[in-house]
């Protein structure tokens, strides 16, 4: 079954553009489960627009 929402997970591992610490950014980590999470907000917004689905944006702490 296709998800009705675009899912993004945002943690300290997010890959984003234009960061001053770009060389030191931690890489994204896998999230277990069957959902294909998107780790980039701009990419999520693009998918959301193309698919006409809302975004579910999650901030989770991995400490």
């Amino acid at each position: 079954m296709k998800l009705a929402v675009i899912v993004l997970v945002v943690s300290c591992q997010i890959v984003a553009s234009g960061l001053s610490f770009s060389q030191e950014k931690p890489a994204p980590t896998e999230v277990s489960g069957d959902i294909d999470w998107v780790f980039d907000i701009e990419e999520g917004q693009k998918i959301s627009q193309d698919s006409s689905k809302p975004m579910f944006i999650v901030f989770r702490c991995e400490r």
């Binding site: 929402v5 945002v10 001053s20 610490f21 950014k25 999650v58 901030f59 702490c61």
Partner: protein, 329 residues
Amino acid sequence: MNGININRFQFEYDLTWMSFFQNHRGETYLRFGGREDAGPETHLTKDSLIQAMNTALELHRSKMVKPTNRYEPSGEPSLTPEQLPITQKMLANRKNKCIHCHDIKTAQLRELRSKGQLKKEMVFSYPSPSNLGIRLDPVNQSTIQSIEEGSVAFDAGLRAGDVLQSLDRQPVFSFADATRVLELTPETGKLNVVAHRVGQDFHCQIDLSDQWRAAGDPSWRDSTHLVGPNSGFWGVRQDADQKSRLKLGAGKLAIKVTAIWGKWAKQAGIQQGDIVIMIDGVSDDMHIRQLQSYLQMKKNWGETIGIMVLRQQQPVELTMKLPDEPTEE
């Protein structure tokens, strides 16, 4: 939080989990997350998430986004955590360059401390509606599960079963939506509420009094470490049987010291294995995080406190001079 626009995503950064439902333009349908002091999952369950998703889809189909305003800002101009000077200092000595949610609040409060503007009550951000006497249903989160009799919400006329429509004219669909409005609600004044009751809208105003925000147990909030000194030791709360063997009542403080890191604790004579039964004159039951937050919220840097411990079942009185200033990462 690396690279995240914190002018767009404003939320309780002491939390370990938070979510937003938005459209592709970044306009918000609803927020989902948050907690009561009682536990991290009071309003974060599978059922409540399903309910929130269904509500978000309905709002999406109806194209009903929240208005862009101070509660749901556009995010312009953009601001990332890396642009905060204090964040850069914090990251300088950190091998892993991860910026955690709680780092944002730490940076914001340190900035205020550097300007002499930090107040202890600032840790009580994104206050729960229960501070006003409103207990929201854990699943259908705009529904009032109960109202504390005699509270300001009770006095305003709100009752169990009412369904919140808006606070200060901002639509409310979830616990997190409510805490967002309360975050920007002043200490005193009136809060406009619209609720749905038996097919009709019910309008009322809640009278806000001093200190309504600074209520409850802040021990889950990481940010308490910024506003006051800790004990310099860690420990484990003793259970009822262990207390009984120590001839202590179940409601009494009893924390067994398991680790000591602060030189002020060592200088006070705290030893591993000591059972702390009184601190600063308080002997009420607490877990170790509550003991730390008690000191952080009630005491100031450089103050001296009394501690009583049981050592080999004998009471020993100790005096601890708390550190003169905070240690920074």
